[in-house]
């Protein structure tokens, strides 16, 4: 599937570079603590790749991706929590066999909606389908009524706030502000060991590349071009015979599913899930990662996520008060000076130099470069 038509030359270079970085360079050079940090950062890259499709291509700015990140993360956390709450592990509780926070909240029976999460296959399906369902409902309700732009962004932000309040308020069912903690095993496999973290890192990178390839595939189909068309002239698309709302719903659902996969991986990598990854602030941070990387570049989004998170970790260690100001300033700087983010800087300043170098070498070899049109179809 990956041939010169699927990725054009510079995209192929980007793909190979990212693969080398994530599969070889980082695992070989970082200790397991730092590698686990990278794994945590990369969970946000899923969200960023989804935002490239939905926001960059489709022009639908969602400031509530934390909702879907959280839904995926909570689905996974519920499964892990139930496994960690075996009767044997929880025999000191007044009701053994239910998660500890339920016991603390005087709940004596496992709530109905928790029960299916005893099953691992159900959990995997739920991670994909629960956010898909919610994003479909939100998308259908908004886009069919032609709600878009800033209004849509504000509504998604409100939804992120509502879900946070709901999770915090329903402490007995959700673990409240602390979230779902003390997760131990996945299907009997201890996820807390260094070895498990190493394996999980690679599982995550493989999944991320799966999402990248899928996003690239979507981008290259006619649907990808319709997303771009919609962003520019929504009416023209409508009067070319397309139901614009359906395409927006699709892009929004894909972004939600990607975010949910990231959220589920986050739970596995970090070992807990809490409402602090669901609300408004994390949702906006996810948009900033995408903007910094370049909202039109799938690879840029991954690099943007990594860089901003590295900066966040190192800066907030030394200047915890300043970090949020720094993040805000970064966002403003990117929007004003580099609207296409890192990928735009690469495309406008670095790539032309490389091309000049390459072409001067090529002309010596008598090689001709057949440039592939940007929107070449996947065949």
């Amino acid at each position: 599937m990956i041939n010169s038509r699927f990725f054009n030359r510079s995209e192929l270079i980007g793909f190979v570079t990212l693969a080398l970085l994530l599969f070889l360079i980082l695992p070989l050079t970082l200790d397991i603590f730092r590698l686990n940090l990278v794994a945590k950062y990369l969970t946000y890259a899923f969200v960023a790749v989804g935002l490239v499709l939905c926001w960059g291509y489709g022009g639908i700015l969602s400031l509530g991706q934390g909702v879907f990140f959280g839904l995926g993360g909570y689905c996974m956390a519920m499964y892990l929590k139930l496994e960690a709450s075996s009767v044997e592990n929880t025999k000191i509780q007044s009701t053994p066999g239910i998660p500890d926070f339920m016991d603390w909240n005087q709940i004596t029976q496992l709530p109905l909606f928790w029960k299916p999460f005893h099953s691992f296959p159900f959990t995997l399906l739920a991670i994909l389908l629960v956010p898909a369902f919610f994003s479909f409902i939100i998308g259908a309700a908004m886009f069919k009524r032609r709600v878009g732009g800033v209004y849509f962004a504000i509504i998604t932000q409100a939804i992120a706030a509502i879900l946070t309040i709901l999770i915090v308020g329903q402490q007995g069912y959700t673990g409240g502000i602390n979230g779902i903690t003390d997760l131990r095993t996945l299907h009997g496999w201890d996820i807390r060991t260094d070895h498990a973290k190493f394996i999980l890192y690679f599982v995550e990178v493989v999944l991320l590349f799966g999402c990248i390839v899928l996003a690239q595939f979507i981008r290259l189909t006619k649907l990808g071009r319709i997303l771009v068309a919609m962003r520019e002239q929504e009416d023209r698309v409508r009067f070319s015979g397309y139901s614009v709302a359906n395409f927006k719903i699709f892009a929004f659902c894909m972004a939600a599913i990607f975010a949910a996969i990231g959220g589920a991986m986050f739970t596995l990598e970090v070992g807990f899930m809490s409402p602090s990854f669901v609300g408004i602030v994390p949702s906006i941070e996810m948009v900033i990662y995408t903007a910094v990387g370049g909202r039109l570049s799938i690879f840029g989004a991954v690099y943007g996520t990594l860089l901003v998170n590295f900066a966040k970790t190192s800066l907030s260690e030394s200047f915890p008060q300043l970090w949020l100001f720094g993040l805000g300033a970064l966002f403003i700087a990117v929007v004003l000076a580099f609207p296409d983010g890192l990928a735009g800087i690469w495309r406008d300043y670095v790539q032309p130099r490389i091309d000049r170098l390459m072409s001067s070498r090529k002309s010596k070899n008598g090689w001709t470069d057949s440039s592939v049109a940007d929107g070449a179809p996947a065949e």
């Binding site: 068309a229 002239q233 009067f239 070319s240 397309y242 139901s243 929107g375």
Partner: protein, 251 residues
């Protein structure tokens, strides 16, 4: 076998159409009929409701009351994309094309296949699509610019591109809103030639101010004034109508 009076088959029958925006009736109890293969030009002073009529037919604006029958189908109840599917194509006043796509991709989006979400995911750029896009690009004088981004086209070329996008849709009723506005003289001549070619085998509804151009192409002219029909008929009839001279042509 004839039961009652059999009315003549019109392609488009607009009857008692009214739309009011906060009490202001932009189109007021308007009725007109377009026959198969007829070229109808709508003229009238600014604010007469010309563009609103096209908006109503293509579904961009919802009518307050009245009916629009296209081949016996009631358009006022359909969504925009369903109206396109029924066979109505609309060109906007300012060129609305997709700047970040190439000319080829712009035309391809209008190709009437794979218009659903999953249809567009499975859409293949096969020989039929390529041929049709190339054929139309030749008609709209853009054959050698297929791989150019639409943003790089001149104003006139953008207008042609949008006309080309409509041609690919192959509508039975083509609605053009000021197709030659803002064009250079040579572009105007070429556009008139293009329009004369594409209006064959279909009905066309045109809004235009350029009277020479109108005289060239119109079978029948409808003059709108304050949302109502002031006069209707041949160029000769309309030109000599004292009411028309008073509100429109006299100026």
């Amino acid at each position: 076998m004839l039961i009652g009076h059999q009315p003549k088959e019109f392609l488009l029958a607009v009857e008692a159409l009214t739309v009011s925006f906060d009490g202001f009736k932009a189109v007021n109890d308007l009725s007109f009929y377009v026959e198969e293969n007829e070229i109808r030009v709508i003229i009238g002073p600014n604010g007469a409701g010309k563009t609103t009529v096209l908006d109503l037919i293509c579904g961009k604006t919802k009518a307050t009351s009245g009916s629009i029958q296209f081949r016996g189908q009631e358009l006022t109840k359909l969504k925009e994309n369903q109206i396109v599917k029924a066979g109505v194509g609309r060109k906007f006043q300012t060129p609305s094309i997709f700047d970040d796509l190439t000319v080829f991709e712009n035309l391809e989006i209008s190709y009437p296949r794979g218009r659903t979400v999953f249809g567009s995911l499975a859409f293949k750029r096969d020989a039929a699509v390529r041929e049709r896009v190339e054929e139309v690009s030749e008609m709209i004088f853009l054959k050698d610019r297929l791989n150019v981004y639409a943003a790089q086209l001149s104003h006139g070329q953008k207008q042609w591109l949008e006309i080309g996008m409509l041609l690919i849709q192959n509508p039975d009723l083509l609605m053009l809103d000021e197709p030659v506005a803002g064009m250079s003289v040579s572009e105007r001549v070429k556009t008139a030639e293009l329009l004369n070619r594409i209006i064959k085998d279909r009905s066309v509804l045109v809004i235009e101010h350029d009277m020479k151009f109108v005289e060239d192409i119109a079978h029948k002219i409808t003059v709108l004034h304050q949302g109502q029909i002031l006069s209707e008929g041949s160029m000769e009839h309309v030109k000599n109508d004292p009411k028309v001279i008073e509100v429109y042509l006299g100026h």
